[in-house]
Amino acid sequence: MPYGPHTPEDRAAMLEAIGVASVDELFSDIPAALWASELKLPPPESEVELTRRLRDLAGRNRVDLVSFLGAGAYRHFVPAVVDQLLLRGEFYTAYTPYQPEISQGTLQTIYEYQSMMGELTGMDVISASHYDGASATAEGALMTCRATHRERVLISHAVHPHYRQTLCTYFAGADLVADEIPLVAEGPAAGTTDLAALERMLADPDRPVGGVVVANPSFVGLLEPMAEAARLAHAAGALFAAVVEPVSLAVLASPASYGADVACGEGQPLGIPLAYGGPYLGILGCREPLVRQIPGRLVGLTTDIDGKRAFVMTLRAREQDIRRERASSNICTNQALCALAASMYLASIGPHGLRDVAALGAARAAELERALAGAGAARLHPGPYLNEFAVRVLNAAAVHRRLLARGVLGGLVLAEAMPDDPSLADALLVCATEVTTADEIEVFAAALGEELAEEAR
């Protein structure tokens, strides 16, 4: 074992103190019939060999392409100070702050995370973190059912497909119903959540709805009628859960401002690496009256017995280690270090910096829209977007594949992510952020133009 401290003499001394002749004796409770077969794994590697192998494996991934891929995970600039600070072992090798007297660092950073995310979303309460945007959305939807004692939610078809699928998995387990709100098929609102359909679905007296879940921006990048959807939900006695992208909240209306009761979303854009899907940051927040429904840890401000200001985990009676089968969720380990990364990112970039990130992404995306339209790929939907949008490309999967050979990762083939939606059959979902350059846009547009010309022949 490469990381252990024991010498043969140490082991002998321990065996003697215990009063056994060998370590095998310590395992005498394992019945012989259940002894393990030989463990067959590759041989151990020295750090020299290990680092060579890992570098080789990492090198087999291709991260050098010009990329316009977003779809729920975004490339952003991260100030160098963030990762330097994250490498503090006092943060990353501690665990849940069960002993507050020697965990004030972790506790205060969680409180500050809750506060910053509270500023972005306008929510009164933010959990210390959930796993990712998908599981946070599922838990947020479960909260709406618990709070209303109703057993059905309506979720927009324009919410990220992974979030919808995760929500379905969680809801099936809880014997609850999740129905999808269809999208407007045509006209100026094409591709956004169909409010008329929502109103009809909410009106069914036999199947009362506990929560309505809509994402802004939607999976295909469109801005949604959040205020109207929230109003319809509330008129039917349901709660409204907004799925949000945190960078966009520097410039877009906050969930609180349009009446959301629950806010959830993916915190990855706040300084967290793409890392093939995780670890990310599930953002979950709510208005004060729902505080006892929110799953996961909460940190509050208090004082110690000497009157010094201090922080502590609080309202613990919601949690599994206290409440067991009546807990609001089974969550224990969360994504605390990712929440810390998000706080450090927000603090290092500041309110004006975050606004610049969002607005510069929007500006680059508008340039991208013009360039792609010039290359023959016009937008699929007419409505407003922030920094991500769908373009119509015939034979999108084949074109996308050929673009890879030209060194361009041309976004997402929408039919692969949402095969059940015929309106997205010939489309790519593309995004730009503050790190997208004019040169990259030119390379993409030129390559796409040539591929589309090829297709047309």
């Binding site: 401290p5 494996l57 943060f91 209306a253 603090a347 929007a362």
Partner: protein, 499 residues
């Protein structure tokens, strides 16, 4: 005191001054947002801190110094396996090829990560004696949910709809009953036998046509191997139910016991415990789940597949209709799994077996020392952790486990897990792990001995402990009665920082 800093920090909001910081992002063109309808735009805030890089750095460094961590000292937090987190793993996860890979990258661009994930699945399956593994769950509790949802899908696929109960021993982690509830089952709590093990007769009495699954932690939360596990698994299967193993305590048994071989149908692995990925102040971890033949069709999607040509790919949507579906977005906490992979590669089979041997050796060594100063209710050999109790000390001196825990802080140690398992009065659950030197283990036992002496000589010093930490015992009642869960708008209406 190993937590070096004592100076409390102002909040980052109190450090904020308008006009500080910035300069990292080029300014966008003025009209960048002109195309967005005004009703969609934000009119207020957000009021985030404005802070310069030196101030920011000192804020977080000073805060970090208020923490106790594995990197600063001994952290024998039972059930959490606070072992050493190798530094090379942090380096590995930050390699650009891993860290910059987009989760929707086409398979052909992701061959390095996909191969790593595929190999890690095989190795975990080998350690657990399982048929296959999913790496998707983000934490142990989500692994439990994944496992129990598969159990549910299995019974439903057979038209067996009456199985509404999950049996859980009363010594189980709270996540087990909470998971059963989330998966739509009723929890039936089974009392432990007097020797701390599963009560086979009680289980037999509770098992029946309504039982969907039994959730067992083995070694148990008392740090004991369930020697009756064979009989229990036979009874579970005879009743038509499935057996789920909570793998929280896997660090004791690698190479000695493979749950799948013994008959468990599913288990989760806590890579942040057994496979040395850091705990991050509460997370992230990862909770891969292994399954036997019966649950194979129900694994969450997507799985990582290897094609006949040796290339790797992710399963496509709808490819395996019996799947329970997704339990989260994308492939999993891949950055954490890179660290676990590096750890398993560095150790190999012999190393992992030695990990468990040394973890069990250290726990029994500390137990022998602690038994001379506190109650140790179960005297047989423990696995990687053991339970002590201060019940006798409390009767003699009024000093409780909480007091001992707080006083340990003054001696420079992180306290063990306290008041868990719930089945032992005044419990301390001690898990030293395999990476602590003999001198450290001796010093910990010495501190406990000194505290017990203090309990008799000067109990007041213990009631008021800790004395040397950055803050002392907290007013948790007020925190819960009048929750203050976020800083409000930098208005200065808050309790100001004392410094």
């Amino acid at each position: 005191m190993t937590a070096a800093g004592h100076r409390l920090e102002p909040t980052i909001f109190e450090r904020s001054r308008p006009g500080r910081g910035g300069g990292r992002i080029p300014h966008p063109p003025r009209e960048a947002l002109a195309r967005i309808p005004a009703a969609q735009l934000r009119t207020d805030g957000p009021h985030l801190p404005e802070i310069s890089e030196p101030e920011l750095t000192r804020h977080y460094i000073n805060l970090s110094q208020l923490n106790y961590a594995v990197d600063t000292g001994f952290y024998p937090l039972g059930s959490c396996t606070m072992k050493w987190n190798p530094k090379v793993n942090e380096w590995a996860a930050r390699l650009t090829g891993f860290a910059a890979l987009h989760p929707f990258a086409p398979d052909e661009l992701a061959q390095g990560t996909l191969q790593l994930l595929w190999e890690l699945e095989q190795w975990l399956a080998e350690v657990g004696g399982m048929r296959a593994v999913t790496l998707q769950p983000a934490a142990g509790a989500q692994g439990e949910l994944t496992g129990i949802l598969m159990v549910r899908a299995y019974h439903r696929s057979r038209g067996d709809l009456d199985r509404t109960e999950v049996l859980v021993p009363d010594s189980a982690h709270g996540t087990n009953p909470a998971t059963a509830s989330m998966a739509g089952f009723k929890t039936v709590s089974i009392p432990s036998s007097p020797d701390g093990g599963v009560d086979l007769a009680a289980f037999r009495a509770a098992l029946g046509p309504r039982t969907a699954a039994v959730m067992i932690t083995n070694p148990s939360t008392l740090g004991l191997f369930e020697s009756r596990i064979g009989g229990l698994l036979d009874a579970v299967h005879a009743a038509g139910a499935l057996a789920y193993m909570d793998g929280a305590n896997l660090n004791a048994i690698m190479g000695r016991f493979k749950p799948g071989e013994a008959g468990f149908d599913a288990m989760h692995f806590n890579v942040h415990k057994t496979f040395a990925t850091p705990h991050g102040g509460g997370g992230p971890g990862a909770g891969p789940v292994g399954v036997g033949e019966k649950l194979l069709p129900f694994l969450p999607t997507p799985r990582v597949l290897r094609e006949p040509d040796g290339l790797f790919r992710l399963e496509r949507a709808g490819e395996r209709p019996a799947s329970i579906g997704r339990v989260r977005s994308f492939a999993g906490n891949t950055g954490v799994l890179v660290r676990a992979y590096a750890y398993m590669r560095a150790n190999g089979a012999a190393g992992l077996r030695e990990v468990s041997d040394d973890a069990v050796l250290a726990a029994n060594y500390v137990k022998a020392g602690v038994a001379r100063v506190l109650d140790v209710p179960f005297s047989r050999h423990c696995m990687h952790e053991f339970v002590a109790s201060s019940a006798t000390l409390k009767a003699e001196t009024g000093i409780r486990t909480l007091d001992i825990a707080k006083r340990l802080i003054d001696y420079g140690f992180h306290p063990p897990t306290i008041y868990f398992p719930l089945t032992v009065e005044e419990a301390l659950l001690v898990e030293p792990t395999e990476t602590e030197a003999l001198e450290t283990l001796d010093a910990f036992v010495g501190a406990l001995r000194a505290i017990v002496e203090e309990a008799h000589a000067d109990p007041e010093a213990l009631h008021s402990a800790p004395h040397s930490s950055p803050v002392r015992r907290l007013d948790e009642a007020t925190a819960a009665r009048q929750p203050n869960l976020r800083w409000r708008g930098m208005t200065g209406e808050q309790t100001p920082c004392p410094d």
